[in-house]
Amino acid sequence: MAITALIIFSWTLIGIAMVVLSAYAVRHYYLAYSRLRIAHPRETDELVGFVMPRITVFIPMHNEERVARDVLQAIVDCDYDWELLEVIPVNDRSTDSTRAIVDDFARRYPFIKPYHRSEGSGGKPAALIEATVNATGEIYLMFDADYVPGRAVLKMLTAPFLDPEIGAVMGRVVPHNIGDSLLSCLLSLERSAGYQSVQQARYNLGFTAQFGGTVGGVRAAALRAVGGWNPESLTEDTDITFALLLNGWRTAYVNRAECYEEVPQDWGVRRRQLSRWVTGHTECLHNYWPDLVRARCLTRSEKWDAIFLLAMYLTAPVIVLGWLASLVLFFVPEAHAVPVLPIAMLIIGYQLFSNQATFLEIGVATLLDGTRLRALLMPLSLFNFFANTAAICNALRKFYWNRFWGSGGDGWYKTHRTRPGPDDQGFGLNQAPSEATRQSLKGLYRANNQGMGD
């Protein structure tokens, strides 16, 4: 009797896994196909005739001495009118030389107005809430401290706000340290698929893009209208995306607004980063799904898309449960009484159909980006997949454990930076690169801005 119950339970689990994962697979295929099919992707970044509003750029920093100069200098070098620009580096309780670096820039450029924070609760949302009080811009742009924005990014991220329905804008994240480790290279494939394929495809299809606080912007009036940043959230960007969406505001995506990021180079850093995203994302799912289902301002397909987006990390435990159920059925002789061939065909068909879906998105992205050499690394993504699955399951276990017992979460974890700082011998983006490096980077950083500003 118990064996029969176990077999039924295992088959049920496998069935659920197949249904859920097949649904996601259909979504992956559809997005990849639509990204290739639409010859003229949706663009909302017309710069001719664009009346530049006053903008405030926030750069949250916590012990960022290795990267602070790069991001500040890159923003100074942007082609935005300095009269309409306000930059607020939010120095959140740093104990290294971040404060000195920021103050040095503030002395040289009057539009840089540092906000030094020495107390209060930790984390990016809390720091942003305090810093926002004194901001004067109509549009708030945000960059993580390890990001290096391209020269035109400020204008490109601001231009979509000419559409009165746009409450937030997301730019594209491009890793610059792809050759530093195998992990960073595999993450660059993941980022390409996420931005070039999925974000652009979803935006083309009329779904709201996902706002990311790492390279993006939000309309100040819209932010105030939805009550500002959520200090409780670990992913304040995902939170604000859905708060805006439920109030009728949309998020635009600008694929050409590229910002160069340092992705994690070791699995430990990656695991902690992923853990924070999983917790924040799943928290948003619990907070917003009832409102999303009821929202009158969203179509049915928009609701489905939003739920799929928020629930995506739940696929990892579903996969693992499916594997465990398969093992049970494999080792229980009584389970072999069922007709094996049709079920085997079903599972093989499902494996062929579902497991390739995410790889298709990576393939589409590398095709569009012209990075075909990197596409050859796709089989190695398998290891990344296993590592991600384990990290996500662990993060979800902790999240639901804390939720069940009502205890607090892990709190904010700052991603470790590996870029060589000013005192290191290595090549930091803030160092003047050699001629060979300058050529190979097509002018990454300062090459065409020598002597500008300072």
């Binding site: 329905e165 819209a222 009728g248």
Partner: protein, 378 residues
């Protein structure tokens, strides 16, 4: 022993799955991303500027070939040859396979074929039916009828695009562009873009257009639906922006004073004033002689009826049609109109800035029915 052999075979087969990836990683390791382009900024006349810069560099650094003469200097750049001549006149039907630079004026007869880029430092005139790869001119540039430009064209002086001419990519000028009927390009950018039949007389305004509807409502305005507007369907999104549920077809002049998102079609009557930005989930139709100060964005088609005056950016997810007499002008700053579908320009249109489409911008002769003073006022 057999176990060992099987193990080695298994590992070899396993490695084969990843061998290409391994080789790719060896190539990539230690390098930085090749697609970084931090210095990218968008320039409308990028192609022309880039070509001029490259050409200037080549001519300054390459030695002239030994077969050069006083009237024709020849430079070799890899497999390419660059011909540099003073003023040139090509007869009809001539085929030119080399890059051509003229230091003075340039003209060609009908049906010539230039298979490489042409750079003209003076004025330039291209005969009907000629095909060119790309063309940059430092003076005025006159493209005859049915000319085909496979890529781009850029002029410092006035650019006249003859009837039935096709430009596959961009047409830019630092002075002005005149687009004659049935000519088309993917985008046009100039301080002034005009179509045929320009008439700068001010349009007549009617003396009694009916009551003016205000959006958002002012205190004391009626709360019941009238003139196609139902106040019950208007909601605040916060931040001074409003949303309207459903179609909004206003039958009286409208004064839009705040940003508005319409979740359906939008149309307004003649002589409306739109000061706030407007977004419609479907089509937008702006009544004749209206003034548009805010930006217009729609997911569907956009139609600006005759004599509309706009000072902003227009973006249509579908097609766009600018009717007879439309003006896109703003002091000290360009305006822009962009459509994902075909963008059609009727006669007597003047736009200071940019007109572009993901497909094509085409000029047409205005149908007689639209011409003043017949039906443009209704």
């Amino acid at each position: 022993m057999l176990f060992l052999a099987y193990s080695v075979l298994f590992l070899a087969l396993f490695y084969l799955h990843f061998s290409l990836a391994h080789r790719a990683w060896i190539t990539i390791r230690g390098k930085r991303s090749s697609e970084l382009d931090m210095s990218y900024v968008r320039l409308e006349d990028y192609f022309g500027q880039s070509f001029r810069r490259k050409l200037k560099y080549w001519l300054a650094t390459l030695p002239a070939a030994s077969n050069s003469t006083a009237n024709l200097r020849v430079f070799h750049h890899g497999q390419e040859r660059i011909f540099v001549a003073p003023s040139v006149q090509y007869p009809s039907g001539r085929v030119e396979k080399e890059i051509l630079v003229t230091e003075g004026t340039f003209s060609c007869g009908n049906n010539c074929d230039f298979r490489r880029e042409v750079m003209v430092h003076g004025d330039c005139s291209i005969g009907a039916g000629t095909t060119l790869q790309a063309l940059a001119a430092d003076g005025a540039l006159n493209l005859g009828e049915a000319v085909t430009i496979r890529r781009w064209v850029d002029a410092v002086g006035k650019l006249t695009i003859g009837a039935d001419t096709v430009i596959s990519s961009r047409a830019t000028s630092r002075t002005a562009i005149e687009l004659l009927p049935r000519a088309y390009a993917q985008s046009l950018f100039a301080p002034e873009i005009a179509t045929e039949g320009r008439n700068d007389d001010s349009p007549e305004l009617s003396t009694n257009s009916g009551p003016v509807l205000q959006i958002p409502h002012r205190p004391g305005d009626p709360e019941k639906a009238q003139h196609g507007f139902d106040p019950q369907k208007l909601f605040s999104m916060g931040g001074g922006t409003y949303t309207y549920e459903g179609d909004l077809d206003i039958t009286t002049p409208l004064h839009l004073r705040a940003p508005l998102v319409v979740r359906g079609h939008f149309s307004c009557a003649k002589e409306s004033l739109l000061e706030g930005d407007l977004k419609a989930h479907r089509n937008i139709t702006i009544g004749p002689t209206s003034v548009v100060k805010g930006n217009l964005v729609c997911d569907g088609d956009m139609l600006l009826k005759p004599d509309v005056y706009f000072q902003s950016i227009l973006q249509a997810g579908g097609t766009m049609r600018l009717s007879f007499g439309v003006r896109g002008l703003r002091e000290k700053r360009p305006v822009a109109a962009h459509a994902t579908g075909v963008l059609t320009l009727e006669s007597n249109i003047v736009i200071n800035g940019k007109v572009s489409s993901a497909l094509r911008v085409i000029a047409i002769s205005t149908p007689l029915a639209w011409l003043r003073p017949h039906s443009t006022r209704s």
